[in-house]
C-alpha cells in the first residue's frame, strides 16, 4: 500500500505543479486552465505527419468541435484527423514533445463533456478511422477502428444473422471507440450487459506514444485485465485505435410491448414487479409524461400525450415461450392500473416504438434549449419513491424534469430542462443535479458510468469512494500518464470539474476563456 500512497502523492504533486505552471503562464489572477505550448510549431510538425488537410485551425473548424452532446463548450487549439494507429502514435508523440494536451474524440455524442478541451490542446478526432478491419463469423469476432459508428457494425453483419449487442440510444451516431471509453450501455443492457462485456481486445496508443495490444481474441486472457481497465477510462489512459469485439447471433424472434400508465409511480412499480416475478425481458425502458410531450410529436409512436408514463418492454428468444411471458407482463401491468398494453404489429411499428425511446434525449430540444442529464443507478425496488423525490427536488429548484431511462437496470436519466442564457439557471440546475445524485446514492444506488463522468460528474467520485480508493485510481492514471496530457482533468476529481468553475466564475469569464456552459 505504501507504494500506492507514494504514487498517489506524486500524482498530486505533478498535478499541482501542472496547475501552478498553467496559472503562472496565464497570469496569477487568471483562472484559465489552458495549458501553454508552442502552437505554431506544433501545427507545423503535425502537418508534416498528417499532411496539411488533416490538421485544422480555422475558426470554423474549432467552433464546430467546441462541444459535444453535453452542455459544455471550449475551443481546441487544433483539430487533427488521423486514419491509422501509426498516425495516432505519431501525433501523440509530437504533442507530448510540445507539452500539449491530447483530447480524443469519437462522434461527440458524450453527455458529460468528456471531449471538451478544457485545457486547450489538440482534439484528436477518430471519425475518419471508421473501417471494419476484419470479421470472423466462425469465431464471432470483429476487429474495427474506433471511429466506426456503432450501428454500422451491426448493419455489416446483420445479413448473416449477427449483431453487436451494446446499443446505446445514440447508436446511430456514436462511435465504438467512444463506447469503449465510456463503457456505454444500451437499451438491451438488461440482458446483454455493457460494452466491457463485449470487448475482447484493444490496440491503444499510450500517452507516451507507445502502441500496445491488450487482451486477446478470446475471453479470459491471462495476466492483468488491462482491457477491463481501459474500457471506461474515458480516454484518460490512452487512445483506443482498434477494438476486437464479440458478435452475437440474432435471436429467433422478438416481441415488443408498449404499456401506458397514468403515473410515473405506477410505471415504476410495474418495473419492480416484473423483475420480481422472475421475468427478465431483454429491454425494459421508461419514458415519462414530460418526455412523451417532446417525443411523440417527433416520431408518432402512438403514445397518448395525456398519459403519465410509458414502458417499452421487449422479449427476445424462442417464440415458443412468448405467450406465457406475455401473460405475466399483461397481468403485472393490469395490476398496476395500466391504461392499455399493446404489442408492436410489425418491424416498422417496433422501429417507431424504439425511435420514441432512442430519440427521447434529442427531442427534449423541443421543450427547452438545454438539458442536463444525470446518470444514476438505484435498486429497482426503490424506483417509485426515488422518481417521486426527483420530481420534488426539481420542483424545489423551479425546474422541469424529464425522465427517460433504462428502468430494468434501475439506471435513471433524469433530464433537467433549462435555458443556459437565463442568469443563475445553470447554477440551479447543477445544484439540483447534485441533490439528485445524493438522493440516488442515499437510496443505496450509485452514479453510473454509462454516460461517462467527463468534467461534469468527476467530482461525484469523492462521494462514492474512500480517499484510499481514489488514490489507487490516481496512481493508475499517473502510471500511464505522468505528465497529465491525455484528456486531462476528466474522469477523476479535478479542479476543473464543472461544478467548481461554474459556481465560481461569472459567465463573462467563462466566455472569455472560450468555455461556455
Amino acid at each position: 500500500m505504501a507504494d500506492v500512497a507514494d504514487l498517489a502523492d506524486r500524482a498530486d504533486k505533478a498535478h499541482s505543479a501542472h496547475i501552478a505552471g498553467r496559472a503562472g503562464a496565464a497570469g496569477a489572477a487568471d483562472p484559465a486552465f489552458r495549458v501553454p505550448f508552442d502552437r505554431a510549431g506544433l501545427q507545423r510538425e503535425l502537418q508534416a505527419v498528417l499532411g496539411p488537410e488533416r490538421v485544422r485551425s480555422y475558426p470554423e473548424d474549432l467552433i464546430a468541435y467546441e462541444n459535444d452532446g453535453s452542455v459544455f463548450r471550449a475551443l481546441p487549439d487544433l483539430v487533427v484527423f488521423p486514419t491509422s494507429t501509426e498516425e495516432v502514435a505519431s501525433v501523440v508523440r509530437v504533442c507530448r514533445r510540445y507539452g500539449a494536451p491530447v483530447i480524443p474524440r469519437g462522434a461527440g455524442t458524450g453527455l458529460a463533456g468528456g471531449t471538451i478541451p478544457v485545457t486547450g490542446g489538440v482534439l484528436l478526432v477518430t471519425a475518419k478511422m471508421n473501417r471494419i478491419l476484419h470479421v470472423d463469423l466462425e469465431s464471432r469476432i470483429a476487429v474495427v477502428q474506433p471511429g466506426l459508428v456503432n450501428i454500422d457494425l451491426t448493419r455489416a453483419v446483420m445479413g448473416q444473422g449477427y449483431f453487436y449487442a451494446p446499443d446505446p440510444s445514440s447508436q446511430l451516431a456514436c462511435s465504438i471507440g467512444g463506447n469503449v471509453a465510456n463503457n456505454s450501455g444500451g437499451v438491451h443492457t438488461l440482458s446483454y450487459g455493457v460494452t466491457t462485456n463485449h470487448v475482447l481486445g484493444l490496440t491503444a496508443v499510450l500517452p507516451d506514444g507507445e502502441v500496445v495490444r491488450l487482451g486477446a481474441a478470446a475471453p479470459d486472457a491471462p495476466g492483468l485485465d488491462l482491457v477491463g481497465l481501459f474500457v471506461g477510462s474515458e480516454g484518460t489512459l490512452g487512445i483506443v485505435t482498434e477494438v476486437v469485439v464479440r458478435l452475437m447471433r440474432r435471436r429467433e424472434a422478438v416481441r415488443t410491448f408498449l404499456a401506458v400508465f397514468e403515473s410515473v409511480r405506477a410505471a415504476g412499480q410495474t418495473v419492480s414487479d416484473i423483475i420480481a416475478s422472475g421475468l427478465v425481458p431483454q429491454a425494459l425502458e421508461m419514458i415519462d409524461d414530460v418526455t412523451i410531450q417532446a417525443v411523440e410529436p417527433a416520431v408518432g409512436a402512438g403514445i397518448p400525450m395525456d398519459c403519465g408514463a410509458a414502458l417499452l418492454i421487449e422479449l427476445e428468444g424462442l417464440a415458443d415461450g412468448f405467450d406465457a411471458q406475455e401473460a405475466v407482463i399483461r397481468r403485472v401491468c393490469a395490476a398496476n392500473g395500466a391504461r392499455w398494453v399493446r404489442v408492436a404489429e410489425d418491424p416498422a411499428d417496433r422501429d417507431r416504438l424504439w425511435a420514441a425511446r432512442k430519440g427521447a434525449f434529442g427531442a427534449l430540444g423541443r421543450l427547452a434549449p438545454n438539458y442536463l442529464v444525470q446518470d444514476a443507478v438505484v435498486p429497482r425496488s426503490r424506483l417509485p419513491e426515488v422518481l417521486d423525490e426527483i420530481r420534488a427536488i426539481a420542483a424545489r429548484y423551479g425546474l422541469q424534469v424529464a425522465n427517460v431511462f433504462h428502468a430494468g437496470d434501475g439506471n435513471l436519466h433524469p433530464n433537467l430542462l433549462f435555458d443556459v442564457r437565463k442568469p443563475g439557471e445553470i447554477q440551479r440546475v447543477l445544484a439540483a443535479g447534485e441533490e439528485i445524485v445524493r438522493l440516488c446514492i442515499d437510496a443505496g444506488g450509485t452514479i453510473s458510468g454509462e454516460h461517462g463522468l467527463g468534467i461534469e460528474k468527476n467530482a461525484y467520485l469523492e462521494w462514492l469512494f474512500s480517499p484510499e480508493t481514489l488514490d489507487v485510481m490516481k496512481a493508475v492514471k499517473t502510471a500511464f500518464d505522468p505528465e497529465r496530457l491525455m484528456n486531462p482533468e476528466k474522469l477523476l476529481p479535478s479542479p476543473v470539474s464543472c461544478s467548481e468553475f461554474t459556481a465560481k466564475m461569472a459567465p463573462e469569464v467563462l466566455a472569455e476563456m472560450g468555455l461556455w456552459v
Binding site: V55, P59, E60, G69, A107, A173, G365
Partner: protein
C-alpha cells in the same frame, strides 16, 4: 451571451435553440458521410450558424464554403428528434453570404490550375480576411496556405472540375430564371448546341487526345468533358399547352399545374404525361401563362429577395380571384419546386401585404404523386412491359415534403412492374439543384455511391419523380453503370395507363400536345 449577436439573428434564434447537439443527424448527412468532418455535418453547420448569430464568427469565405457544401437534401431534418428546421438555417446563412462564388469557385478551380502548373496553387487563395475574422477566444491564425483546402479532404478518384463560376450562377438566378422567355431562349440555345457541329468539334478536338482517348484527370479539358457528358438529351419540343384543358370524362376536380423551368423545357413529354394523367383522373387542368419559375434555386443559393418576387408572381398567377379561378390544388411534378412552393408562406411571412395569400397558396400545393395516389381509385393502373424497377426518393419529396409512400403505392399498382427497394433510397444522388455544378467532386462521389446502390437491386429501371434526380442518374448510369433507364414516375404511369406496354407517346391525340420546338434537329 457576451457579444451583441448578428442583427438578423432573431429570425432563426428559435430554431437554433432547439438543437441539443445530440449528433443524431450526422449519419443521415451525405457530406458528413463522405468527408467525416464536423463543419460539413448538420450539427457542425448549425454550430457555425449559431456562432455567426451570436456574433462570435464573421461569415467569411470559409463559412460560405461549408454552407455551400451542404447539398440541401434535408435528410438531417428527417433524422432530427428535436425538430430543428435546418433548411431555414442554411437558407439564412446563404442569404447572409450571398450566392455561391468565391469560396466554392476557389475550391474547385484551384486544384485544376495547380495540376496544370504541376504544383500547388500559390498564395492565399482566399485573401487575407481570415485574421480579421477570428472571433474572441479563437486563435487568430488560420493555418498555412497549404491547408487552405485546395484539395478536398479524403478525396478519391474523380477528376477535379471547375464549378460553375459565381457570376454565372448569379446571372442565372437574377436575370434568367425569373423570366420564362429567357429560360426558353437559354434552353433553345443549349439544345441547339447539344446537337451542333460545334459540340462535335469540341468533343473531338479539345476534349479528346489525338487517339480519341479521354483527357488526363485534373485538366481543364477533363472538367469540360464532364460537363459535356452531363449535357442532357433535349426533347424535340418545349411544353406549350393551352391554358385550360378539360377533364376527360366528368369533371371531378379543377387543378393548377406548375410548368417548371426544367420540366417545361427538358421534360416537355413528362409534363404532357402529367396533364394526360390528371385529365383522365377527372381534372380540369389550368396552366396559367402568367406563372414563373418557383424560385427554389434562388432560395437555396442566397437570393431570397429574388425568390420572393417570383413567389408573388406565382401566387398571383394561381390566385382564386384572378383569371385562373378557384382551384382544388396547385400541382407540381418537380419535387424541388413543390417543396419551395409549400414554403411560400414562410418565405413571405414578413410581408404583410402577401403573407396571408402566400400561406393560403402554400396550403394548396401538392406533389402530383400525392394527388394522383388519392384520386385514382383503380386498384390497378394498367400494365407495362415486365421490368424490375427501383425508386429513388427525391430529397425534396421525402425529406422536404414527407412524401414517401404515395409514389411507391402508385408504382405497386402497375402490373408487370416489380418494385425492389434500394439501400439508402432516400440518400441524395448528388444532383441537388445546381450542386453538381458548384460542388462537382462531392457530387461525383455521392453519385458513384448511388449507382452502386442501384446496381445492388438488379433493377433495369429507376423511377424518380424529379427532373434533377433524373438527369443526374442518367449521367450516373452512363458514367458508372449499371445501364439502367431512368424515368419520371408520370411517364411510367402514363405508359401503363396506355396499357399497351409499348412506350406510346403520352398525351398523343388528346389535345395537350405541345407545339414543336423552334429548332427541331
Amino acid at each position: 451571451m457576451s457579444t451583441a449577436g448578428h442583427p438578423d439573428a432573431s429570425a432563426i434564434a428559435g430554431i437554433l435553440d432547439k438543437c441539443v447537439h445530440c449528433g443524431f443527424c450526422l449519419s443521415a448527412c451525405p457530406t458528413y458521410d463522405l468527408l467525416r468532418e464536423e463543419p460539413d455535418s448538420p450539427r457542425g453547420r448549425i454550430a457555425l450558424i449559431a456562432a455567426v448569430a451570436e456574433g462570435r464568427l464573421e461569415p467569411g469565405d470559409r463559412f460560405a464554403l461549408h454552407m455551400y457544401r451542404c447539398v440541401g437534401c434535408l435528410a438531417c431534418e428527417t433524422a432530427c428528434p428535436a425538430g430543428v428546421e435546418y433548411g431555414r438555417l442554411v437558407e439564412w446563412a446563404r442569404a447572409l453570404v450571398g450566392p455561391p462564388g468565391g469560396a466554392a469557385l476557389v475550391e474547385a478551380v484551384a486544384p485544376a490550375l495547380a495540376a496544370r502548373a504541376g504544383s500547388r496553387a500559390e498564395g492565399r487563395a482566399e485573401g487575407p480576411g481570415d485574421q480579421a475574422q477570428a472571433p474572441a477566444g479563437i486563435p487568430a491564425e488560420g493555418g498555412t496556405m497549404d491547408d487552405r483546402e485546395t484539395a478536398l479532404p479524403g478525396r478519391v478518384g474523380a477528376a477535379p472540375a471547375p464549378s460553375l463560376p459565381g457570376w454565372a450562377v448569379q446571372a442565372a438566378l437574377r436575370h434568367v430564371l425569373p423570366h420564362p422567355g429567357r429560360v426558353r431562349a437559354a434552353a433553345a440555345l443549349a439544345r441547339w448546341f447539344s446537337r451542333s457541329w460545334l459540340r462535335r468539334q469540341i468533343q473531338q478536338g479539345l476534349l479528346a487526345g489525338p487517339g480519341g482517348e479521354p483527357p488526363a484527370p485534373g485538366t481543364i479539358a477533363a472538367s469540360l468533358a464532364r460537363v459535356d457528358a452531363m449535357l442532357p438529351e433535349f426533347p424535340g419540343r418545349f411544353f406549350d399547352p393551352p391554358e385550360v384543358l378539360p377533364a376527360l370524362g366528368p369533371r371531378r376536380y379543377r387543378v393548377g399545374l406548375l410548368s417548371g423551368c426544367v420540366m417545361g423545357t427538358l421534360f416537355a413529354p413528362s409534363n404532357e404525361a402529367t396533364v394526360t394523367l390528371l385529365r383522365r383522373a377527372g381534372c380540369e387542368v389550368v396552366i396559367p401563362r402568367a406563372q414563373t419559375c418557383c424560385g427554389a434555386l434562388n432560395v437555396h443559393n442566397g437570393d431570397p429577395e429574388g425568390a420572393r418576387a417570383m413567389a408573388r408572381r406565382n401566387i398571383q398567377a394561381f390566385h382564386p380571384d384572378g383569371p385562373c379561378g378557384p382551384l382544388d390544388a396547385v400541382l407540381v411534378n418537380a419535387a424541388g419546386c413543390g417543396a419551395a412552393m409549400k414554403e411560400y408562406g414562410h418565405l413571405l411571412a414578413g410581408d404583410p401585404e402577401w403573407a396571408e395569400a402566400a400561406a393560403a397558396f402554400a396550403a394548396r400545393v401538392r406533389d402530383v404523386t400525392e394527388f394522383l395516389d388519392e384520386v385514382l381509385p383503380e386498384t390497378t393502373l394498367g400494365r407495362i412491359e415486365p421490368c424490375r424497377a427501383t425508386y429513388q426518393d427525391p430529397c425534396h419529396l421525402a425529406h422536404g415534403q414527407g412524401v414517401r409512400s404515395a409514389p411507391r403505392r402508385l408504382l405497386a399498382r402497375i402490373e408487370g412492374l416489380e418494385l425492389v427497394e434500394m439501400p439508402g433510397s432516400d440518400r441524395c444522388c448528388g444532383s441537388a439543384g445546381i450542386y453538381n455544378l458548384v460542388q462537382p467532386e462531392i457530387s461525383e462521389r455521392m453519385l458513384a455511391a448511388k449507382m452502386q446502390a442501384v446496381a445492388s437491386t438488379g433493377a433495369d429501371l429507376v423511377v424518380a419523380p424529379n427532373p434533377g434526380c433524373i438527369l443526374q442518374l442518367r449521367y450516373g448510369a452512363q458514367r458508372y453503370g449499371p445501364p439502367v433507364r431512368v424515368e419520371h414516375l408520370v411517364d411510367v404511369l402514363a405508359r401503363a395507363l396506355e396499357g399497351s406496354g409499348a412506350a406510346a407517346g403520352p398525351g398523343a391525340g388528346d389535345g395537350s400536345r405541345s407545339r414543336e420546338g423552334p429548332s427541331h434537329g
